[in-house]
Structure formats: structure tokens, C-alpha cells
């Protein structure tokens, strides 16, 4: 099943009965490929965040996950509130452009955690944190993707981060020109990315912000790609420089239009900032968060129902006007 682990999967029957290649429903992909206790990375820096996959993980009540993401964002605030996570590995913990991630903070700040336990009457477990800088997280995925024991970087000098996280270590240059910090490889059990398009074998193309999706995918044992659009192989092969993730390392392809909402997809829809603003007051009340999860996740059977519930009018406001890339010519040789 694992792609990047060197056990390629192309050519295996579709993940879901009657679907081509590796195409699967979100339900089947998450059920088969995400296991309790896994290290899961849902990557995508502001752009292409797979809320659809996160919600399905909540819906299937996966437990004890270690969640890795440079920016946990609302999706991990929701997954943590749903009790799916044991630990976060991250570099910036906030609601971008709005404020904090309050469900996470309630499980990290002792005073807030006591209050949460009091009000819920449950022995809510504190959330473990393992933190880096952005470049540190990118370097960890890169080391994982490259099968290297460490990646050097010029960060962390004279800061408290190496004390807070003993996995950030120093190495002396064998060329006698000083020391640099290094971080260890990050190797997710499963990496989940959203993309504009892929073919049925999982050959995936992305434009706009690329974040660290390529590195996170190559670093993982299993990869789920969620796309706005399933395209013919010929569309991918017409522009091979645009391919970010090869089907070789992809285990399932899920077709889920609007699957990144309320985040965005370059060229397809804008970030639904109204929701990022609305989440701030919701997330300040555990009760409101749980009510939101019931209404928008548990009481819906999947993304299609979520999209229908959002309504066409709201979605229509998120469509950008066209800005075409133009074409280039690869030339036919022989």
C-alpha cells in the first residue's frame, strides 16, 4: 500500500469498487489509509488545505494521532477539539490574519485546561507540542523526502528553541567553518494534500503556492491526494514540469470539489475569510465548537453535503475572474 516506502502501488485496483486506478471515496481512503496512532500530515501553506480529509478523520473518530503541519490552522483546531490528536508538530500556531487557535490553547494552557475539565467534567488530556520554525519544519520534511538523517540550517542561533525542543541539535562543519543547527527527518505515516488536478494514477499538478507539499509527500509512507478535478493522463503529460507529486508515491486519489474550503484553491476559489473570522468567537467556547462539529461534520455524511449546506450563493462569491497562464511549447521530437 505504501508508495514512498518503496512499495509502489500504481496499477493496483482502485481503492473504491468500480472507480478507475487509485480513485477512491474520501470515506474509503481515510478508513483504509489513516490508522489510530498515526503521524498524519495534512499540508498546504494557507493554500490547498484539505478540510474535507480532516473532517472525514473527525467523522471516523480516529484517535491518538500526531498531527504535523507548519501552520495547524483551523483544521487542526477542529481535529484537536474533536479528540483526534495526541500531539502537534508545528511551526506557527494561529488563525492566519485573525488571531489564535483557541481549542488548541485550551489543551495547552494549564489554567484553560483546568477550566475545560471543570466545565466538561471530562479528564481532557493535555496536547503535546513539538515545535520548530518554518524553515525547520520544511527542512524536516526535506530530510524525510531525501532519506537523510538530518538537514542543516542557519536558524536557532541564540534562541530558546533548542532548549524547548532537544531534537534541534548542532553539528560542526568538517570544513572548519563553524557550527550549524540540524533537524531530524519527519516521516509521516500518511501525508494528505489537496491539489488542483491529478490523473487516476495520482500524478498530481499544483500551481500557486507550493508550500512543502512535495517534500511532505515524498517523506511519507502513504499519500492521499484530494483534487478539485480528475483529469486524463494526457493533460498531465502535456506539461510535465507542472507535476509536483508523481503517482508512484500516491496511494489514493479522492475527487472532492471545494474540498479545501474555507481555505482556497488558486484559480478555482478564494479563501472564505468570513469563516476564518467566524471561527474566532466559536472557538472561544468549547460548547460552541462541539455544536459546530456536530452540525458541520458529524451530522453530514461527506463533503457534498457540506457544500450543499454552504449554499451556491456563498460559494459563488468566492470565484475569481480568470487569469490565464499562457502556453509554452515542449516540441515533439521523433
Amino acid at each position: 500500500m505504501a508508495g514512498a516506502a518503496g512499495r509502489p502501488t500504481a496499477g493496483v485496483p482502485g481503492r473504491t469498487e468500480g472507480m478507475p486506478g487509485k480513485v477512491a471515496t474520501m470515506r474509503d481512503a481515510i478508513r483504509e489509509l489513516v490508522r489510530d496512532g498515526d503521524l498524519v500530515a495534512i499540508e498546504g501553506f494557507t493554500h490547498l488545505i484539505s478540510f474535507a480529509a480532516g473532517h472525514e478523520i473527525i467523522r471516523q473518530r480516529k484517535r491518538d494521532l500526531t498531527l504535523a503541519r507548519m501552520t495547524p490552522d483551523l483544521i487542526y483546531d477542529q481535529m484537536v477539539a474533536a479528540g483526534a490528536a495526541r500531539k502537534l508538530v508545528f511551526s506557527w500556531l494561529g488563525n492566519p490574519g485573525v488571531g489564535g487557535l483557541n481549542a488548541i490553547r485550551r489543551r495547552v494552557e494549564p489554567a484553560a485546561l483546568d477550566e475545560l475539565r471543570r466545565t466538561t467534567g471530562e479528564d481532557v488530556r493535555p496536547l503535546e507540542l513539538e515545535e520548530y520554525s518554518h524553515f525547520g519544519m520544511v527542512a524536516r520534511y526535506t530530510a524525510g523526502a531525501a532519506n537523510l538523517p538530518f538537514m542543516p540550517l542557519r536558524s536557532y542561533f541564540e534562541t530558546d528553541l533548542p532548549t524547548a525542543n532537544p531534537l534541534i541539535r548542532e553539528v560542526a562543519s568538517p570544513y572548519g567553518d563553524g557550527r550549524v543547527y540540524v533537524v531530524p527527518p519527519l516521516r509521516p505515516d500518511v501525508t494528505i494534500v489537496h491539489a488542483q488536478r491529478a490523473d487516476a494514477e495520482g500524478n498530481t499538478q499544483i500551481w500557486g503556492l507550493l508550500g512543502c507539499q512535495k517534500e511532505a509527500a515524498f517523506a511519507a509512507d502513504r499519500v492521499i491526494v484530494v483534487v478539485e478535478e480528475l483529469v486524463d493522463e494526457a493533460v498531465v503529460r502535456a506539461d510535465p514540469n507542472r507535476t509536483v507529486i508523481p503517482g508512484l508515491i500516491v496511494d489514493a486519489v479522492v475527487v472532492e470539489p471545494w474540498g479545501a474550503h474555507p481555505s482556497y484553491v488558486q484559480g478555482a476559489y478564494d479563501r472564505d475569510n468570513r469563516f476564518y473570522l467566524e471561527w474566532d468567537p466559536i472557538s472561544r467556547s468549547e460548547e460552541a465548537v462541539q455544536a459546530w462539529l456536530r452540525e458541520w461534520v458529524h451530522d453530514l455524511d461527506g463533503r457534498a453535503a457540506y457544500v450543499e449546506k454552504l449554499g451556491a450563493d456563498r460559494l459563488a462569491t468566492l470565484r475569481p475572474t480568470p487569469a490565464p497562464s499562457g502556453e509554452v511549447d515542449y516540441g515533439m521530437y521523433g
Binding site: T46, F157, C212
Partner: protein, 259 residues
Amino acid sequence: MTDVGFSRNEMMIVAAARELAGQRVCFVGVGLPNIAVNLAKRTVAPELELVYEAGVFGARPARLPLSIGDPTIVTGATAVTSMFELFAFYLQRGLIDVGFLGAAQIDRFGNINTTVIGDYAAPRTRLPGSGGACEIAINARKVFVIMRQSARSFVERIDFRTSPGNLGGAEHAERIRREGGWLGRGPSVVVTDLGIWHFDESGEMRLDSLHPDATLDEVRTTIGWEPRISERLADTPAPTAEELRLIREELDPAGVYTR
């Protein structure tokens, strides 16, 4: 809004934008730096190249980016790269002239905390953490800071050092940077809602300009140490009508950053 016709946040953003005059390549941090840099691009620094850690060089945002990963920073940009390339080949390589940061806590030497208030293991307040700030502070040629002044933010001792400034002072910082081969020369200015601070030869911040309608008393009551005040303290020129128009009509019509 105060009766002077503009808010202190507007004055802070305008003063920060003006500091970018003559700068060439700016790494844009989340929050207040984002609006200050976008104002500078429309006023004193039209040639300014905006770099976003999300992987964008030469952004031409058609609107104020809602976040530092907004799609408007991509469309029409010069280059979009992986974040590995952005941090390794642009920032760490020394191509960034100004890293523009915000902060939750800062000390007299410009050392910055954006990680926790209180004890790291059991924080009173958990803040976002480093993001790219740690590497920006080390690798950008110089660092600009924009933040509101308060006794809780301008402190004698920060609770956690997320991003290094002038460490224990200029001498110490210069030795560390030289020995470590840092490309960054550290903090150069801190713009607040009350004034503009630069760093003197000892590496400590000094108030060089006071904003209209701000007083030295306020400055002293919103800072955790006895501040150095320039003998030639200037008055920050008030925002121009055009600066205010850009902020209010183009950059922040909803007043997210400026009310």
C-alpha cells in the same frame, strides 16, 4: 479615531511604511508588517520587492492580502517557489534586505518573544511561535519591528527568546554574528503606536521620534525599563491625506488593523 483625524494604529503603520524608503527587498511578516509594507509599496518605495515566506518573490497584490498566503500575492508575481527554496535560496542566502516582524514581547536590545507568556512548559498564554521569525531575525540583512507599546510588551526580560536581536548588547551581538558567520546585522528600527525607536551604538533602542498626540509620559508608562530618549527627539510628521486614503479605502477598508 482620535480628534487629530487619524488613529494611533494608522500613525504606526504610516511611520513604519516610511521607514522602508530606499529599501529594495522586504520579507513581509504576518499582521501589521503586511499592511505597512503594502502601504510603502504604494508610497515611498514603489520599487520595493515583496517577498512572502509562503514562497512568493515580487508579489503584486491587487488587494491587501488577508494573510501571508493570500492568492492575490501569487497572481502576477515574478516568481513562486517551494518554501524550501524561499527560505534556503532567498533568505538564508542573504538576498533579503529587510525582514519585517511583529512581536508580542521585546526587550531593550530588540530580542523578540512570539512563543509563550509565562513558563514554556506551562504557559499563561500560548502564542503562535516562531513561524519564519527566528530565521528572518538571523538571516535578513536588517530587521524592522512594528508593534504597539505596553508595559506587557516592552519588558525588561522576555519570557522566551524566539528571535535574536542585539542579545546582551551590541558588542556581544557583533561577536556572535561575526563568529557564527551570520549575514544579518540585527534589528534596525522599532515602530510603535507612540514613536520610532532606532538602535544606538550600545545596541539598545532609543526613541528618535515621537508621534503626534503621544507624550513622553505615555512612552515611559508603556515600557518596562527607563528608556533612552534622543537629545534630538523629532516629531513624527502626521499621516498625509493620501496615506490615510490608501489605508482606509484600499488597504484596510474594514479597519481590521487600524481601528
